[in-house]
Amino acid sequence: MSTSDPDNSSEFFAQFLDDYYAECDEHLTLVRRNLLALEAQVGQAQVEQALLDELFRSFHTLKGISAMVGLSAAEQLAHHMESYLRALRQSETILSAEGVEALIAGASTLEQVVAARRNELPLPGITAVVARLEAVASDFSSKSAQDALTDDAGGKGLEPDGAKAEAGARDAVTGATARTWRVEFVPTPALAERGVNVNSVRARLQEIGELVQAKPQVRGKGEIAFLFVVVTDADESVFASWGIENLTFAPVEETATAGSPTLPSETAAAQEPEPGGAPGTEPVPQSRMLAPSNVVRVDLARLDELMRMIGELVISRARLEGHLGRLKKSVSAAEWRALQETSLAMGRQLRDLREGVMRVRMVQVGEIFERMQFVVRDLARESGKRITLELLGRETEIDKFLVERMTDPLMHLVRNAVSHGLETADERVAQGKAAEGKLTLRAAAVGESVLIEIADDGRGIDKGRVAARAQAKGLIGEREALDDAALLELICAPGFSTRDEADRGSGRGVGMDVVRNTVEELGGRISLETESGKGTRFTVELPLTLAIAEALIVSVDGQKFAVPQSAVQEVIEVETSAVKALENNEIIPYRGGVLPLVRLARLFELNDVRERAAFHVFVIGSGSSALGVAVDRIIGQREIVVRGISDPLVQVAGIAGATELGDERVVLILDVAALRQSAANR
C-alpha cells in the first residue's frame, strides 16, 4: 500500500477523495440500517438472503474503493466483513449474536477510520476488531478463501477493484510479449511545426497499446518533458520507426503492483474498468430499501443552486407583475385579463416548482436517527448504563440542508442525555424507576414546521447547580427563581457549558450555545422542559419552507436595504422644504396632521444627503404611533427570499436578516420594530 506517493498531494486527488468520502457515507448508511435489521434475525434458522446480499455488496464495494485511495485500514476491515458475509450467504454458518456484534464493531471502526482520515487525525487501531471478525468466520476460513478466488476470478457481476487495474490492463493487451515501457518526449518548436506534438505522440501510443500514465515534467535545465507509461506487445522497432527525435523509450521491469492507487488521469487515458463497484452495475436487491438504480446522487450544492434560481424566478415574476400593472391603461380589457391570468398561472407554477425542488431536497429524519443509535449504543456501553432508544416519526421528511446542519447539534443533545441525564441502572432502581433508562427521539411535521424532540426519563437538569454556576459567572442575581425558559437561556449562554466533556469525533466543542445558534440561524426555535427526577425534553422547531416575503427596496447613501412590506403603511415623496425642525426632531405635514420623521442615514451613520430637493419616506405604524422613515429613494417592491443573520459579529440593532436580489450581493433587511425603538431613544 503506497503511503508516500507524491501524487497524493495533487488537488485532483483531493477531489477524488471527496467522492470517496461521499460514497463511503452512502454505503455506511445502508450498512448501518441493514445491520440493525440483521440483529433482529439472530438465531433464526433462515436469515433474509436479500439482506445478506446487500451487506456483502456494500462491504465488497467499500473494500474496493478504500483500496483505490490507499486507505488500507478501511480496506482490511471491509475485507474481513465481506468474508464473514460470504460465509453467511452460503449458509455455512448460523448468524450468532457474537457475529452481529463483530460486524457492528467492524462497521463502527470503519466509519471512524474514514472520519479520522478525513480530519487528518491518527487512525484508530483495527487489530482487535479484525481478530473478532476472524474469530466468527474462522471455522470456515479455508473454505471461504477458496470461494474468494472463484468469486473474484469468475466475476459474479462484481467489478475488480482498482488495485488490480494495472494488472488488468496488462492482461487485456495479452500476448506473452506484453511489456511496460517508459516513453519520454520533449517537445520543440521545430517538431511542433512538423505536426509532432504531445497529442500526436499520445495518439500513437494509444494505437499500439494501453496508455497507463501521461505526466508533464520539468527536467534539469527547466525544459518541459512528457512521461508516458504504456503497455504494449509491440517491440522497440516500432518506436524507432516513428522517427521522432526527442523520443526516448525504455522497458520497465514488472513490479508487483501492490495496490498503488491508480491515478484518475490514467483512467481517462486508458480504457479501464470503472473503479470498484459502481452502483449502476449492481443488480437490484429485493429488499424493502430503495433500489440503488432508482436513486440519483445529487450534490447538495446543485440543489442550492436550483433553489437560488427559483428565488430569482420569483423575483422576476414579481417585477413582471409590476410592469404589467403599469400597462393596464394601454391595453384592452380583454388583453389585460389574459395577461393577468398568465401571470397568475406562472405564479402558481412557480410555487409548484419550488415545492417540487424542496421535495427533492427532503430526506427522512430517520437518517440522523440511525446514526444516533450507534452513538447511544456505544455511550451506553461505555458508561455501563442500560438504555432503550425509542425512535418515533423517522419517516418525517426534512430538507437535506437542515439534516446537515442539525446532525451535530442533535448529536450533542443525545450525548448530554446519555451522559448527564440518564442515571445508572442501580441509581434508577433505587429511585423506583425501571432499570433501563429511556431515550426518545421523535420527529413530526406540524404545519409549516418540523418538530424534533429529544427526551429522556432521567434525573432532569439540576436547577440548583445551574443557578449556582450562573451566579458565579455573574449571569444572574441572587436567589432568582428559574423557570424552564430561563434555564435554557443560561445553559445556552456562550461560555457556560464546560468544554471538558469528551466529545469523540465531533471536532471542536459543540456546546449548547452552538446548538441554539444553529437552530436560530435556520429560522427555528428550541425549548426546554425539565423536571427533577423525572427527565428532560428538548424540542427543536424548524421551519420547512423557504421564507419568502414581499419587501420594499430602498436606497440610502447608495446602499440598498429591504423593508418587509407588511410593516409599511404608505410610501410618500417629501419636499425638503416641507420639513420642520422641532427640538431634536423633524416633522412633516401628513394627512392633516404631522408625522415625525427619522432619517435612516442617521440611524445607520451613513451619509445623509441633505441637498436633495425631495426625498422618499415610508411610513410605519399608524395613527398616533405613525413614524416616517426617510431614505434617499424608494426603488421598488420585490418578493425576496429571507435569510437569517445570526453570527454575533453582525448582529446589530435595526437589521433583521439579509437577502439577495439576484446578483449575489447581500441586501440587508431592516428590523422595523428596532427602528422604531432607536428612533424613540434619540
Binding site: N8, E120, D304, V514, L603, D647, A653, A658, L668
Partner: protein, 158 residues
C-alpha cells in the same frame, strides 16, 4: 497532503508582509473579495457581509482586526471562509495562495514577550527552514468579545 499523523495541512496567507497559517480543515472556501455589503454600526473590523455557499457570512477585515493600516482590495485580496465551532466567518487577507503541511514539531508557542494582540490571536509560531509562519488561533480571531478598536497594542473601547 502528507499522511504522517503528526503533520497537518495549513492554508497560508499574507497580511502586511507576514505569513500566517490556518488549519485547512477549518477552511470552507477561499474566494476573491467581491460585493461586501457593509453592516451599519457593526464594529470596525467587520467589513460587512457576503454570500458564501448560499449563506450570509460576516467578513472580517484582518488588517483592521490586527491593528494594521487598511489597504484597498485588489485582485490578489482573498476572503478565507472558515467554519469552526458552528460558526461560518470570512476573513479578508492580502493574498492567499499556498497549501502547506506543517509538522506539529515545527510549531512552538509564541514567545511571552509578544504582548497585546499577538499573544491573543496566535496559537503558535512555526519555524520552517528560513520561514516563519504565525499560526492563528481562529476562535480568538472571530470572537465577538475581541472586537474593540486596538491602537498600539492597547485595547480601547470602540
Amino acid at each position: 497532503m502528507s499522511k504522517q499523523s503528526d503533520s497537518e495541512p495549513f492554508i497560508l496567507f499574507e497580511l502586511a508582509g507576514t505569513t500566517y497559517g490556518v488549519r485547512s480543515r477549518f477552511v470552507q472556501q477561499v474566494e476573491m473579495v467581491e460585493h461586501v455589503t457593509p453592516v451599519p454600526n457593526a464594529s470596525d473590523a467587520v467589513e460587512g457581509v457576503v454570500f458564501a455557499r448560499g449563506q450570509v457570512v460576516p467578513a472580517l477585515n484582518l488588517r483592521v482586526r490586527f491593528g494594521f493600516e487598511k489597504a484597498p482590495f485588489d485582485l490578489r485580496s482573498r476572503l478565507i471562509v472558515v467554519n469552526t465551532g458552528g460558526r461560518v466567518v470570512g476573513m479578508i487577507v492580502d493574498t492567499a495562495r499556498e497549501f502547506l503541511s506543517i509538522p506539529a514539531a515545527a510549531i512552538g508557542a509564541p514567545p511571552e514577550a509578544l504582548t497585546g494582540l499577538s499573544g491573543k490571536y496566535l496559537e503558535g509560531i512555526a519555524t520552517l527552514d528560513r520561514r516563519l509562519v504565525l499560526i492563528l488561533n481562529l476562535d480568538e480571531v472571530i470572537d465577538i468579545a475581541n472586537t474593540q478598536t486596538v491602537v498600539d497594542g492597547e485595547p480601547e473601547a470602540a
